[in-house]
């Protein structure tokens, strides 16, 4: 007899997520709107078999978020330039838009899902990335001060890049803190995106994005939209 439980269908998963997000929170169900401006220092590393090529730059980012009960939804746009001194490498412009949703089954835990469309552009070429991330975020509220610690991890089950196969390893991780004063929240976060593409002949493309982000969030409403 086959006693294995059938895998949960997407519809069931969707119902569970909606159940979590739309159930009234034990506290006060209130809508919170927030807007964020952020600057991220980016270190981009890529190795396609000829040594590590590193580029750095500043990305400016803007976000708008709405939090309703246990559900948070945000839209994000970012853009900037990456400069490199590596021989034969070109400077690149980066632009991306993201849509992200989080549900909070507990005040200290958020389950996240996001979709991102990112473009790297040089003078002669353009590379488009489509990313879908699923992950979790642990929120550690300090007792003695309005500080929150953030630990985040996620996998990218969908990574679609022009001219490249799907990576074997695609993950994100982050750690940071945020400080709230009234309706203003400032935050500092270190983040990592790692992509290990499968070998192609004798070479293998490895790519990584390190960021440190400083952000300021203004919010309106009772809840706390903690997003770094």
């Amino acid at each position: 007899m086959n006693s294995a439980r059938p895998p949960a269908s997407p519809a069931v998963v969707l119902r569970v997520v909606l159940g979590f997000s739309l159930a009234p929170a034990a506290g006060i169900a209130q809508t919170t709107l927030s807007g964020t401006a952020a600057a991220a220092l980016v270190v981009h590393q890529v190795d396609i078999g000829h040594g590590v090529e590193e580029s750095r730059g500043l990305l400016l980012r803007a976000e708008a978020a709405v939090a309703l009960s246990r559900l948070e939804v945000l839209i994000r746009a970012a853009g900037g330039s990456l400069s490199t001194s590596a021989a034969g490498a070109e400077n690149r412009d980066v632009g991306e838009v993201s849509l992200e949703a989080s549900v909070m089954p507990a005040p200290w835990l958020a389950l996240r899902a996001s979709g991102t469309s990112r473009t790297y552009a040089t003078a002669i070429a353009r590379q488009h990335w489509t990313l879908v991330e699923m992950g979790a975020e642990v929120r550690l509220d300090f007792t003695t001060s309005p500080v929150r610690g953030i630990l985040r991890g996620g996998l990218l089950p969908v990574v679609s890049v022009n001219g490249l196969p799907r990576p074997d390893v695609a993950l994100t991780a982050a750690a940071g803190i945020e400080y709230r004063s009234g309706s203003v929240t400032g935050g500092l976060l270190y983040g990592l995106e790692r992509y290990d593409f499968p070998p192609s002949g004798a070479t293998r493309r490895l790519e990584q994005l390190n960021t440190v982000t400083f952000r300021i969030t203004m919010q309106r409403g009772g809840g706390r939209v903690g997003r770094l």
């Binding site: 506290g27 209130q30 390190n210």
Partner: protein
């Protein structure tokens, strides 16, 4: 042919009670037809047969009242006034709502019938009809009657110990529609439950009393109400006093974030790409670590936390405001309560 077979089958399968009532109805129909053709002498035996105790078939109250009425009317036409009165009174006693149609009966018959009403005293209430009543704009209506002038009291008595609601208390003669606004005598909406509509009358002509009760169930139809929010749990409130242990806890949280940043930049990162991001992680980890240490040092002296007190007050106030809103919305919904009135068999099952 098929139609005939169907009719036969219906006759054969009809219940005995239905067949018996049909026998009565047939005979009553024949008697009425004879009466209409003024063949009174032929109608009378049929009517007497119907009201006779030896009539073998089932007879409804309605049929009996009709038979008595036609007997009274027939005898009135033949000049046998005493017997006519007797049968009219019998009809009125069976159903105090009985009346003669002035278009179909002669003045003499009507006069005799009125005399019968004066000689007979009874009160009655019609069975309650199912109804939905919005107490804000509508009224429930009960129909009662007295056979002649009487002091009448109509009350709605809750099955529990609540005081009765007096719907009418005055002199009444004949049919009366009594409205009810759905409220108790104290002005509150009648709660769901069983009620008895009690009709008590005392004749002004005969000095006799009579009473009757019919039963009804009142239910409330209310839009779904919202639950108020529960009181804030301790986990939903900030600590209002700084204690040493909280400082230690925050130090560990800061340390955890610092370690987390370093782990992300080392264990999660691809070592083949060098350590280009390590400095960024150290910067963030250092900030988290410093924050943790500062929290620890800050909490070495126990004291109240005015900011947390203020934030907790804000959360409690927001909770109270949310609950007040829910209570207000529920009150608005309760104000829209509709009474559902249904006939019942008694004060309880």
């Amino acid at each position: 042919m098929r139609r005939l077979a169907l009719c036969l089958a219906l006759v054969i399968t009809a219940s005995p009670e239905a067949r018996a009532q049909t026998e009565t109805a047939d005979l009553l129909g024949q008697a009425q037809a004879l009466y209409e053709r003024l063949e009174i002498e032929r109608a009378l035996p049929l009517l007497r047969q119907i009201v006779s105790p030896s009539w073998p078939h089932e007879i409804t109250i309605e049929q009996r009242v009709q038979a008595y009425t036609y007997l009274g009317a027939s005898l009135a036409l033949t000049g046998v006034r005493d017997s006519a009165l007797l049968y009219f009174r019998a009809a009125i006693e069976q159903d105090p709502f009985t009346d003669l149609d002035a278009q179909r009966f002669t003045p003499a018959q009507l006069g005799l019938f009125q005399q019968a009403r004066r000689l007979t005293f009874a009160v009655a209430a019609r069975p309650v009809e199912a109804a939905r009543v919005d107490p804000r704009t509508e009224r429930a209506r009960f129909t009662v009657t007295t056979t002649h002038a009487a002091s009448l009291r109509v009350e709605l008595r809750p099955a529990d110990a609540r005081p009765a609601i007096v719907l009418f208390r005055d002199i009444n003669d004949g049919l009366r529609e009594v409205p009810w606004n759905g409220l108790l005598s104290d002005g509150h909406l009648a709660p769901p439950g069983r009620y008895a509509l009690a009709v008590v009358g005392r004749s002004q002509l005969l000095g006799r009393s009579d009473s009757m009760r019919v039963y009804l169930t009142v239910a409330h139809e209310i839009p779904p109400l919202e639950d108020t929010l529960p009181a804030l749990a301790p986990a939903q409130l900030l600590p209002e006093r700084l204690v040493v242990s909280a400082g230690r806890s925050d130090f560990l949280k800061g340390l955890g974030i610092a370690v987390g940043a370093l782990i992300v930049s080392s264990a999660a990162a691809n070592g083949n790409l060098g350590r280009g991001g390590r400095a960024l992680a150290i910067a963030v980890g250092g900030a988290a670590g410093i924050t943790g240490v500062a929290a620890w040092l800050n909490a070495r002296r126990e004291r109240d936390l005015p900011a947390n007190l203020e934030e907790n007050s804000r959360r409690r106030a927001a909770q109270a405001a949310a609950n007040a809103g829910i209570v207000r919305r529920n009150a608005e919904k309760l104000a829209q309560t509709v009474l559902v009135i249904l006939p019942a068999a008694g004060v309880g099952p």
